[in-house]
């Protein structure tokens, strides 16, 4: 690799992890950190066992349970659902047999894998990070190359600490200007997906840049990178800067003392060189972004909260018209309806997109001194035990409980319908998670994606609402 060619952040991390290049361009890529959870790992460990293979680097691997578990006190007893219980028990057996470090449910550090990675300093700038989970893109906010893999690849990494990969293309999304009042990282990323579409990033790794991205704290950057996969991208990343270095410093698994200084010196070389080539570039004006909400069953079906449900007849393409009609039927919507008139049954504040302390503070600021509307079930699910403890120290749990929100234990919860927190058929939810697919939050459930502050506003109003009408009381 010539040292003179300007390279992107992605190129630099990629080049630093090439073990070998095969003749057809496939690369044996070294993986620095491998996060695993109970849902996508059982068949991988089983594969190792059958082939008589070991985990090559248990020290670079960590396991946690997050998807299957209940988020109330019942989780500390026996898991009721026999299949969920079997998955959790299988993981516990596997980590013991293969010597993989494990964070059990009873450990305060337990939480959603994509929340605890950065929080514990397991995910660091410059790393290659993988997990059998598409939202691994979250960790790209650290200035890392982080992407989701399937179970066969989980097994491949366990056995070899590498993956067979073809390089991705480079895409840059530039977000310039200041965000308007009431708008957040979630609104930025929903607006990006609305613009590029759910396949807009296919085959690419997206680098988010521009002063609006620079101005985000690490939690905001994680929210943006998290949803890269909803834009079809392999991964999303933000160049490491002082915000990143300050965030990493002092985290339990982060380098300390002289090692930290050496690490920072290397991390500072990672940002894209001036003139580096991007195969595709997209620009957004941060100031033009209004609070966003999805209306359909794909994350690209997004509009400003001031908008109206679209009319299928307004789409030129016949297939698209049919698709929009199907979505309206599924979502129980009529063309032209004001988004702000849609009553919600459930509000979910949580998931690896928006369950960090900053997210909870934003929601609590809106909820403080107000009440959840009658008939609305509102849940707040911290992303990890540590986030929960921090929130309780700040008194956010009291704010939520007094307003009528449920205050839960950490986990994936209602982000996906595989643990006890589910929508009932036909229920409409305002959710801070990342996917509004049919049945994602439970069969027949109807999901509207939005930011934590917007979710809190919906809980108080009893319908989708504009957070700008709810200025903090406190």
């Amino acid at each position: 690799m010539s040292a003179t060619r300007p390279r992107t952040l992605f190129d630099k991390i990629w080049d630093a992890h090439v073990v070998e290049r095969l003749p057809d361009g496939t690369v044996v890529l070294y993986i620095d950190k491998h996060l695993t959870h109970e849902v996508t790992s059982p068949q991988a460990f089983e594969g190792l066992r059958m082939a008589g293979r070991k985990v090559r680097r248990p020290d670079a691997t960590i396991a946690v349970v997050d998807h299957n578990i209940a988020t109330d006190a019942s989780r500390y007893g026996t898991i009721e659902d026999p299949e969920s219980r079997q998955q959790v028990e299988t993981l516990e057996r596997n980590v013991k047999e293969f010597g993989v470090p494990y964070i059990p449910l009873t450990d305060q550090r337990q939480g959603i894998v994509h929340v605890i990675g950065p929080e514990l300093g397991l995910s660091l700038p410059g790393m290659t990070i993988v997990c059998g989970d598409s939202h691994t893109s979250t960790h790209g906010a650290m200035g890392a190359l982080a992407f989701g893999i399937g179970t066969s690849e989980v097994e491949h990494v366990l056995a070899t600490q590498t993956l067979l990969q073809k390089p991705a293309k480079n895409m840059r999304v530039l977000v310039e200007g200041n965000l308007a009042v009431g708008c957040t990282a979630k609104d930025i990323v929903l607006a990006i997906i609305g613009k590029i579409g759910t396949a807009g990033g296919t085959g690419h790794v997206i680098e988010y840049a521009g002063d609006a991205i620079r101005a985000l704290d690490m939690a905001g950057r994680m929210t943006v990178c998290n949803m890269s996969i909803e834009g079809g991208a392999r991964a999303g990343m933000v160049a490491p800067d002082q915000t990143t270095f300050d965030y990493v410093k002092g985290r339990p698994f982060a380098p300390k003392g002289e090692a930290y200084d050496r690490a920072v010196a290397w991390w500072k070389t990672l940002p894209s060189d001036p003139g580096a080539h991007f195969d595709r570039e997209v620009k957004l004006d941060a100031h033009a972004i209004a609070p966003q909400v999805t209306w359909g069953t794909s994350p690209e079906d997004v509009l400003p909260i001031t908008g109206n449900v679209p009319n299928p007849a307004d789409f030129a393409d016949e297939a698209k018209r049919a698709q929009v009609q199907r979505m309206l039927d599924y979502m129980g919507l009529t063309a032209g309806q004001r988004l702000q008139d849609l009553r919600v049954d459930v509000v979910f504040i949580g998931s690896c997109t928006n369950s960090r302390i900053e997210d909870l503070r934003a929601a609590a600021a809106i909820a403080e001194g107000r009440k959840v509307a009658d008939g609305v079930r509102a849940l707040v699910v911290p992303g990890s035990g540590l986030v929960k403890a921090q929130a309780e120290q700040e008194g956010l749990d009291r704010v939520f409980k007094e307003a009528g929100f449920e205050w839960r234990e950490a986990g994936c919860s209602m982000c996906l319908g595989m643990n006890p927190d589910k929508l009932k058929p036909g229920q409409r939810s305002a959710s801070t998670s990342n996917r509004n697919f049919e049945g994602r939050q439970g069969p027949g459930g109807r999901t509207h994606l939005l930011s934590p502050a917007m979710a809190a506003a919906a809980a108080l109003a009893g319908h989708l609402a504009d957070v700008r009408d709810f200025q903090p009381k406190g």
């Binding site: 996508t40 299988t90 066969s152």
Partner: protein, 203 residues
Amino acid sequence: MQAFTTLTGIAAPLPEANVDTDKIIPARFLKTIARTGLGKNLFANVRYKADGSENPDFILNREPYRKSEILVALDNFGCGSSREHAPWALLDFGIRCVIAPSFGDIFHNNSFKNGILPIRLPREICEKLMEDAKLGANARLTVDLARQVVVRPNGEEIPFEVDAFRKHLLLNGLDDIGQTLQHAPAIDGFEARQKAAQPWLYA
């Protein structure tokens, strides 16, 4: 992994874009610890009614499509999560090949690892194949991986692209891990160099 050479079979038309992995197999079926047995849950939310009975309108519940080995869909098939349960469910149902204008990246990757061939073809061609597929058992498609062509019932041959390395593994039914372990000395060397330069990565 079962090798993939040529396949002649019934193709099911699924004229939809953005068929996501939650649709291919909903999350509640991911609680298994096995790779097999998921075929009955394929497309469960649309394939069955609330009472568990079959939805007669869904393509895979109709003859001859119950025996489909090929699926023809529209853009961005398999978008969404990384769940390998999606190709496992397709495979367990009997599908060995999916043809679409584009695919979710991870699904595309996962398919190869399970002996399923995902073929990208321009939308107009997918629509033509969709028309063939609608003719059912009288219009079987043939997929010839070695020659990289899809053969339509009228004999027309449509060439497609496939990554050379993936093709090699698929034609021979080879597993990736075995291939990679041939590079073990290079991996050892990489680790020694990285450990010297970035010791904090080796706790």
